[in-house]
Amino acid sequence: MALDLGMPILVVDDYQTMVRIIRNLLKQLGFEEVDDASDGTAALARLKNRKYGLVISDWNMEPMTGYELLRHVRADEALRTTPFIMVTAESKTENVIAAKKAGVNNYIVKPFNAATLKSKIEAVCGA
């Protein structure tokens, strides 16, 4: 299955430079429909108003973390199947396992490169 380059993607990170980096990488991969949010609460508000093909989220944010966002998404009937990739500096095994148990589709540790992001999107969204 080819990647749907027209699918909207939501990038959630409180660090605007990282949002800009991911947005540029996604643009290079051909994705043009990219929205962003600065924490889980803002992301949930966006998710209620638009159907996204993928969420790419940081973990450590205030007030709502990416981990909490993931659990909210998986607990919401309308959102539970939304692909979710965690991109974070939280690299302890307990974090990865907790995210996996909570239903994350893939996990990228920072710093990362374009090839890693591309391969995870392909793995999650089907290529």
Partner: protein, 193 residues
Amino acid sequence: MGLANVTRNTGPAPAKGPAPANPTPANTTPAKPSLIRELVEIADYIAHVRNEIAALRANELTRDRLPMAHEELGSVVTATAGATNSIMTAAEEILGLPSDKNYRAAVEARMNDIFEACTFQDITGQRISKVAEALRQLESRLTRFATAVNARDAGGIDPAEVERRMRAELLILNGPQLKGPATAQDEIDALFA
């Protein structure tokens, strides 16, 4: 340091003068030698603590060094944000350049912008060194003071710190590891294979 161990350093003892005009009445109990010794030790200890507090040079720390550290770190944040913005803008412009005969010259101009932006590291390195030195001084003085007065931390923890720790534990907020990722991307990939 216990009271019995301190050295008296409050200066010379009061000079022995003539007998007071109103001598102690015959029916008043004279102070016991042990009580006087205790009072002298307390006075010595207070003088010792005062000396150690003076050695802290707390006014210098709060007036000069800590505000300096605050300002330097603020400058580092501003400089790194500015450099990142310049580098990213140049990179975005390169990605958007048309493939025409001017392409190489346009790329070279943006590359020079990137090199220029990277000069921030020299200055921020010096700023961070100054802050590190101020923190080293602070640590050294506090350690000396805590040792000198045998200071122990008060029982209990600041409620805000308790709340922060509980949140970090509940939400598994470990933060970045000092020497790179604790788990390599390959190992994480294996968990998702």
